[in-house]
């Protein structure tokens, strides 16, 4: 059964088909959420919220081909909600450790680099060493550009698809991608040269 058929079955309320479909996107969804939010606990919550919302709404999904953009749009909304919660938490308790992602909705990551093994506010293990380095690299980008990079690299969308999702023109997406990938690479190569 191809993905189109699986989506059709899920739309008709077939729970197994929906779970099979989710299984195909699980890693991409989780990775996207982790790098948007900066810690595993919030990423888990975001994906969990996303999948439950998607199940509730999939009956109204118009075009099966639109499923990838649709599910990531839902996830993006869930992430935005969690970012707001992170900001609120931080306002209530300024001493709460900045997981990096908290800055996603409120400013630059620069200067708030995680220390690798530091536990997050929720006590979760913050991620692998490589993922933390990538998170640090992403933290050097503005929020919108970070999202574009993730939609391209992690979610696998093309520039035109990202353009329609973000409201940017495809040309703008391409130029931003090009600029920011160069920037990320420079950051990562510099970090990799530093002996641990």
């Amino acid at each position: 059964m191809n993905e189109h058929d699986i989506i059709q079955k899920a739309r008709q309320g077939d729970q197994d088909a929906f779970c099979q479909l989710y299984g195909q996107y699980r890693h991409r969804l989780y990775r996207y959420a982790f790098y948007r939010l900066g810690n595993e606990g919030d990423a888990e919550d975001a994906v969990s919220d996303c999948v439950l919302s998607a199940w509730q709404q999939i009956g109204s999904l118009r075009d099966p081909k639109a499923f990838p953009a649709w599910i990531f749009r839902i996830l993006s909304g869930c992430c935005a909600k969690l970012i707001r919660q992170q900001i609120d938490r931080r306002k209530e308790d300024p001493l709460e450790p900045d997981t990096g992602a908290q800055a996603a909705g409120a400013g630059s990551f620069v200067g708030t680099r995680p220390t690798g093994t530091q536990a997050t506010a929720t006590g979760d293990i913050p991620g692998t060493e490589d993922s933390l380095l990538l998170r640090d690299a992403l933290a050097t980008l503005p929020e919108e550009d970070r999202n574009i990079v993730l939609l391209s690299i992690v979610a696998g969308f093309k520039s035109r698809e990202i353009a329609s999702m973000t409201g940017l023109t495809a040309g703008s997406v391409r130029s931003r991608l090009s600029r920011n990938l160069k920037k990320l690479r420079a950051f990562l190569e510099e970090q990799m040269e530093i002996p641990s």
């Binding site: 191809n2 197994d16 439950l52 919302s53 199940w55 509730q56 118009r62 130029s175």
Partner: protein, 720 residues
């Protein structure tokens, strides 16, 4: 290794694994505890998901509304704004809502922000009025508004309604040269490269600047560059009358609004390039929002941006600047779509760059609450489209509502006459549009083709609207289970390409605005994404070839299809040409089309999508000798061809070694330029010109072709 591959590898090796709680089995167990999927609910169940009733207080209204639904169903959206409703705002004569206080605007914004996710079925109008119209709208309901009774619409529409452009123009003493291929003649569209016949102006994304290069006889020499700084990117440009107009996008800390780390703005910078070697900045205009699109019409830049709203703070109001501090648009210049669903402003700026310096007096800016998607500009009129709220459908027998299975497109007509932005009328059509070519204005009528969903299946429609954006005629539901890929209007006819597994071309007769009818259609494999009128009898389609794989159809290359439309009742495929394994920017962007002198040929850049058989062996793509001329085919590059990029210091640097490889029977694994003839009902590949690098655009000046590479370089080739 390319940056993309390098970064992708790093992400794929990051070691991240979703926790067990997110395994499909764990999710399955959790779903079992959730409310049943809407599709499986009993017919009498509340169709709204249990987790998302944002306005539970409205439910008691359903019974009341059910009684009144028949009467309300026929009331257009704008008429629901009658004084009897406790409206927080009022409608102007174009059907847009106006605000008399900041508080009203804040309330409208709050409604949009709260409802944006998940998608709501409650319109902003209902949020503002506190009322809910649960009537079921007829499938073909159009809600239009009268807005310009005092104005003569004929004046608004005076001017060319369409063009077969891309033609050349040349002033005395200036070599013949190409212009950007645009949808409407005399309505220029910004692009990444332009020429005035002596100089090439092009966007360097790598250097984030516009480079000005002298071009003569295949030699190019960089003479100057104008750069954007900081977080401002360089997107595209116009040249007109000794002026270079550069459009960029900026993320600025200055523009940060509460709760958001960034706010995008679009920056228009005007340079005097009377002496192209010494560009002089004469002004800069900033308008908040992401660049949607722009046009150059009657010497003025029409700039449309989409300014997202992230929260309910008042500082989200669009701002503008012309050399001074950014200031918010005045409330009197802000409107609201009655059926807005997107939390964003559509900002429309009309900038007159003529004059020694850009001043605030030469700019008009206004904003409409509600996001935008595409624009079409006929010259006198600008049409802006966006998502419109679609009502929940109500079953008249049971009184129950269900989620809409399609979406509507709202269209705003704005007059640009006399340098003023005037909202004229709004209308709504069922479905969504493909791109700007889906729209057209002709003899006072606006035509738009849409795809909508009906019972879970795509269907296609074509609407004709009058100057008040009221439907005069429509064609519903053609090409079931297919969707529109390309549209082109020629006078009183529309050519529509739809696609599922084949590429039918439909010819629609629009001569009677009240009764659009399909005259004929013809099918061909693959599909076109751009239709170009060749002559009165032929239309050339550029698009994708397709093949059937394990999971259905997928695109596998470039395809040209020449349609004979001389008998509209019986169109034919006059000729076609396709090659797997190559792609062209023309498949995504009409501006990649070059129309040769006197429309003798078309030229498009292409690149390889894969190498057959893998490895480093070159693939012969053009191996059909019959399609290639037997003589004059060699890309015999004259001495001095190639790119000669100076550092802007004015010194004449030596030629670089950029002679393209000679191609006898076709490209051997190179990207390049295809020169195509579509005369006499035949597609002929006149030449295949290999290039060193992949090209995004090609232009011509005199007898030379110039190709702009993705790496912001220029290659040149003799045209003959």
């Amino acid at each position: 290794m390319k940056d993309y591959d390098f970064i992708k590898d790093r992400f794929e090796q990051d070691g991240l694994e979703p926790p067990e709680s997110l395994s499909p089995d764990a999710i399955r167990a959790r779903l079992a505890e959730q409310p049943q999927h809407p599709a499986k609910r009993p017919a009498n169940a509340d169709p709204r998901p249990a987790f998302s009733p944002k306005h539970p207080w409205r439910r008691p209204l359903i019974a009341f509304a059910a009684c009144a639904c028949l009467a309300l169903a026929l009331i257009p959206v704008n008429r629901a704004l009658s004084p009897g409703l406790p409206s927080a705002s009022s409608a102007d004569d174009s059907g847009l809502l106006t605000f008399s206080s900041q508080r009203q605007l804040d309330r409208a914004v709050a409604g949009l922000v709260e409802n944006q996710y998940p998608t709501s079925d409650v319109t902003i109008l209902e949020n503002l009025t506190g009322r809910e119209d649960l009537a079921e709208a007829p499938d073909n309901e159009m809600s239009g508004t009268a807005g310009d009774s005092a104005e003569n619409y004929a004046q608004d529409t005076a001017g060319p309604s369409q063009g077969t452009q891309g033609k050349t123009q040349s002033a005395a003493g200036t070599p013949d040269h190409s212009t950007t291929y645009t949808q409407v003649e005399d309505v220029d569209e910004a692009d990444i490269v332009k020429t005035d016949g002596n100089y090439i102006y092009y966007v360097s994304r790598v250097e984030n600047q516009v480079i000005i290069a002298r071009a003569k006889d295949g030699r190019t020499k960089r003479v100057a560059a104008v750069a954007n700084h900081g977080n401002t990117s360089t997107e595209n440009l116009y040249i007109r009358g000794g002026q270079l107009i550069v459009i960029g996008q900026a993320d600025s800390e200055i523009l940060r609004s509460a709760g958001s780390s960034w706010r995008s703005s679009t920056v228009v910078t005007v340079y005097d390039v009377t002496d192209p070697a010494k560009p002089e900045k004469t002004g800069q205009y900033i308008q908040t929002g992401n660049l949607l699109s722009s046009r150059l019409v009657d010497g003025r830049i029409c700039l449309v941006t989409d300014d997202p709203i992230y929260n309910t703070a008042s500082d989200n109001i669009p701002m503008v600047s012309c050399g001074e501090e950014l200031s918010p648009i005045e409330l009197k210049n802000i409107r609201c779509f009655p059926d807005a669903v997107t939390a964003a402003y559509t900002v429309i700026g009309l900038v007159d760059p003529r004059g020694e310096k850009l001043s605030a007096d030469s700019i008009t800016t206004s904003a409409v609450l509600g996001g935008s998607q595409e624009i079409y500009c006929s010259g006198p009129n600008l049409y802006v489209t966006g998502n419109a709220a679609e009502k929940a459908k109500k079953n008249l027998l049971t009184g129950r509502t269900s989620q809409p299975d399609s979406q509507n497109t709202r269209i705003l007509r704005v007059s640009l006459s006399k340098g003023k932005v005037k909202y004229r009328a709004t209308g709504v059509v069922s479905g969504w549009i493909n791109n700007q070519f889906s729209m057209d204005e002709y003899k006072g009528y606006f035509r738009v083709a849409t795809t909508s969903a009906k019972n879970g299946e795509d269907v296609n429609n074509l609407y004709v609207l009058d100057e008040k954006m009221k439907e005069t005629g429509s064609l519903h539901g053609f090409a079931a289970d297919e969707h529109i890929k390309a549209v082109r209007y020629m006078g009183s006819q529309a050519y529509v390409i739809t696609y599922r597994q084949t590429d039918p071309l439909f010819i629609v007769d629009l001569s009677d605005p009240a009764n659009p009818t399909i005259q004929g259609h013809v099918k061909i494999s693959g599909y076109s994404t751009l239709l170009v009128p060749v002559d009165k009898d032929h239309v050339l389609g550029f698009g994708f070839s397709t093949e059937t794989g394990e999971f259905g159809e997928y695109t596998n290359g470039l395809k040209l299809a020449l349609f004979d439309v001389s008998d509209p009742m019986n169109p034919k495929v006059a000729d076609s040409w396709e090659r797997a394994g190559i792609q062209s920017e023309i498949q995504n962007d009409h501006r990649a089309l070059l129309v040769g002198p006197d429309a003798d040929f078309y030229a498009i850049p292409y690149s390889l999508t894969y190498t057959a058989g893998g490895g480093d062996d070159p693939v012969t793509i053009f191996d059909d000798a019959e399609e290639l001329p037997t003589d004059g085919d060699d890309t015999d590059v004259a001495d001095g061809s190639g790119t000669d990029v100076a550092d802007g210091s004015g010194t004449d640097s030596a030629d670089t070694d950029r002679s393209p490889e000679v191609s006898d029977s076709g490209t051997k694994g190179n990207p390049g330029i295809l020169m195509i003839s579509a005369k006499g009902g035949k597609i002929k590949i006149l030449r295949d010109i290999p290039s060193k690098e992949e090209l995004s655009r090609c232009i011509y000046i005199g007898d030379w072709l110039y190709g702009l590479t993705w790496e912001d370089d220029i290659e040149s080739f003799p045209m003959k």
